[in-house]
């Protein structure tokens, strides 16, 4: 029934990705010159030119882009100029780290943020609510990198409770490298995840609060109260469910940003994820890695939003077509 929708959304998604990579490509040539980074200071100008020619960097950008597209369509993103390894391998190697970090931090943010937002909505004048809003504001007022380093200072250097960098003793489960297998490895994830979560937490608390306040004022909630339903059931089954819909959308839209924000967290905590890879790639002007990373972000973004759309359709019966009244 939704096949048409799915196909057309997928096509649009493909265009989005092509557009993203086109924009990105147009900008790459200004990021820096990979050749100067690939050869030592003592290499001669002729050597540099030769390398530039060998890499095809002397050709027009449009041509480079087309070739990139052609190769990418075949799943070939080329070799990293910096590491000389297939970009796909590099990204797949780093993907689990970033995904674990973002998913875990999103989980923290949701698990803390939703109840906090609810409390703030239900008792807007209470002291707790004010405290929650205050904390959530600090989350947006302080730059992520600053929060990160303050956490390191507090929990690693002064208190000595948590490790300050890296992923620690990770375990390999098949091709997936995880921090969840042992407490020892899990500890490494706490600070980076919390840093990243703080950024999302703010957003979620505010969204949930706003939506809850809005939903709580609606007629069907009053009607549920008039029916004498217990408060808990009204809150969770009726209010929260309705309030979470827009929240899910926004979180979906934000996920691209969060993955990008992971770049900063990863830099501060030396977390070996894709963000760090990208940061290195920018410093090195490693074009294939940058291009693949941006495409990947676009793919993740589009996929998540597609999923959110379908989730929406699944949850909200009003969005399913071919039903009843036309209004």
């Amino acid at each position: 029934m939704y096949l048409n929708t799915i196909i057309s959304r997928l096509l649009q998604a493909a265009w989005v990705i092509v557009a993203v990579s086109a924009i990105a490509f147009a900008l790459f040539q200004y990021v820096g010159d990979p050749v100067s980074q690939m050869l030592g200071q003592d290499a001669s100008a002729a050597d540099r030119d030769a390398l530039r020619r060998d890499l095809g960097l002397d050709r027009p950008v449009a041509l480079q882009f087309l070739q990139f597209l052609g190769n990418a369509a075949r799943g070939d993103f080329g070799l990293s100029l910096q590491q000389g390894r297939p970009v796909m391998d590099l990204i797949l190697e780093r993907l689990p780290a970033t995904l674990e970090l973002t998913v875990f931090s999103t989980a923290i943010a949701v698990l803390l943020g939703v109840p906090m937002g609810m409390v703030a909505a239900l008792r807007p004048r209470a002291l707790v609510s004010r405290a929650i809003m205050l904390v959530s504001l600090i989350g947006v007022s302080l730059p992520t990198f600053f929060i990160g380093i303050l956490l390191i200072l507090a929990f690693s250097v002064i208190l000595g409770w948590l490790p300050s960098f890296g992923r620690g003793p990770v375990a390999d489960i098949g091709v997936w490298r995880t921090n969840f297998a042992s407490w020892d490895a899990f500890r490494y994830m706490l600070m980076p995840a919390f840093t990243l979560a703080l950024f999302q937490l703010t957003l979620i608390v505010r969204l949930v609060r706003g939506e809850m306040m809005e939903v709580m004022g609606q007629d069907f909630i009053r009607f549920a109260r008039a029916r004498g339903l217990p408060a808990r059931s009204i809150l969770v089954r009726h209010a929260l469910k309705n309030a979470l819909m827009p929240v899910v959308t926004i979180i979906g839209l934000q996920l691209g940003t969060i993955i990008a924000f992971a770049l900063i967290t990863e830099t501060v905590f030396q977390w070996p994820g894709m963000g760090l890879l990208f940061a290195e790639a920018v410093a090195f002007a490693d074009i294939p890695v940058m291009a693949a990373y941006l495409c990947l972000i676009a793919v993740i973004f589009v996929t998540i939003n597609l999923a959110v759309d379908f989730l929406y359709i699944l949850i909200d019966p009003r969005l399913r077509r071919g039903h009843g009244a036309s209004r």
């Binding site: 007629d219 069907f220 009607f223 008039a226 029916r227 004498g228 217990p230 059931s233 469910k241 039903h323």
Partner: protein
């Protein structure tokens, strides 16, 4: 016999930026078992507020400043939220004004019914489902069993209004407050819904407070009638006499202003002016600025004048033959 519902001198104010604004002023109403009391009045007169006050569902910025509301002998005002919850739904059912927004859009109709039934009647899920189907059937929704699986948006406005009524009936309350249950409906469906309510009174002895501003609806449904104007009851009594021989000039004006099929073309006589909003009430009789009979004496609070068989009008000229003084036909 004490009435099932006894509202005495209920006054409600709103906290607003201009301070406390009195919005209901000394409203008194009585309602016995099996009786339908019509509550009519212009938009903003305070009809819905009266209904909401019964179950403690007033907006957060409303304060009850005086009066009492006794339900089956028990004072309702000032009850705790928990105690109110035992009354709501179980003993007093509410039908809300707008069927489009009163149902949770994300929950199946059946689920909303089952939830309410199970909470109040402590039935098993299966039994609750059976009862839900019965209820839908009772309010006239065909193929009730299958429709339990529908979502609100799949129902037409009339059907939704009937679902709202079914929900109000779910726990067989003794009193139903129906707030304009038919405003959103077509004439044809309207008749159907009113029929249902009347049936309930007849068969189960349910009392109904029927809030509306449609005189026609009252005429064919209610036993007794109270006319609300600017926050106060201006006339009350059995339906027949109030409609045919209204005592208050506002009620009289209202009757004349209703266009009727088959009536003479030029007979529409409007009441000039508009009802004052809360906070802008004049002293004394609040109808005075629009009243063809207004005199200096109307500056005093008007008395309740009994007109026989429980028919009361709050006007010092009630019962006095009206002089045709209005300016224009």
């Amino acid at each position: 016999m004490t009435p099932l519902l006894d509202i005495r001198d209920l006054s409600v104010s709103f906290r607003t930026r201009a301070g406390l604004v009195p919005t209901l002023d000394k409203v008194s109403l009585q309602l016995g078992r099996g009786e339908i009391l019509g509550l009519v009045g212009e938009s903003g007169a305070g009809k819905s507020l009266t209904g909401l006050a019964l179950t403690g569902l007033l907006p957060p910025n409303a304060v009850v400043t005086a009066g009492s509301v006794r339900f089956d002998g028990q004072e309702v005002l000032g009850l705790s939220e928990a105690a109110l919850r035992r009354i709501r739904g179980r003993r007093i059912g509410m039908v809300f004004q707008d069927p489009m927004t009163a149902l949770d859009p994300l929950m199946r109709i059946g689920e909303q019914l089952v939830e309410t039934i199970r909470h109040h009647l402590r039935l098993s899920r299966g039994a609750a489902l059976d009862r839900a189907a019965e209820l839908l059937d009772a309010v006239g929704i065909p193929a009730a069993r299958q429709r339990l699986r529908s979502y609100p948006h799949e129902f037409s406005g009339g059907m939704r209004q009937r679902v709202v009524i079914a929900l109000a009936l779910a726990a067989e309350p003794e009193l139903i407050v129906a707030d304009e249950p038919t405003t959103a409906l077509d004439v044809s469906v309207q008749a159907q819904v009113l029929e249902l309510l009347r049936g309930l009174c007849r068969d189960r002895g349910t009392a109904i407070l029927l809030v509306t501003h449609d005189m026609g609806v009252i005429a064919e449904t209610a036993d007794r009638l109270a006319v609300l104007y600017a926050g106060g009851v201006v006339e009350a009594g059995p339906v027949g006499p109030v409609l045919s021989e209204p005592g208050h000039p506002y009620a009289r004006g209202l009757m004349r202003a209703i266009p009727q099929v088959g009536a003479a073309r030029d007979s529409l006589v409007p009441i000039e002016g508009a009802m004052p909003r809360p906070g802008q009430w004049p002293g004394g009789c609040r109808f005075q600025p629009r009243c063809p009979l207004a005199r200096a004496a109307c500056g005093e609070p008007p008395p309740d004048v009994p007109l026989g068989s429980g028919h009361v009008a709050r006007c010092q000229f009630a019962g006095v033959e009206e002089e045709p003084r209005h300016a224009r036909a």
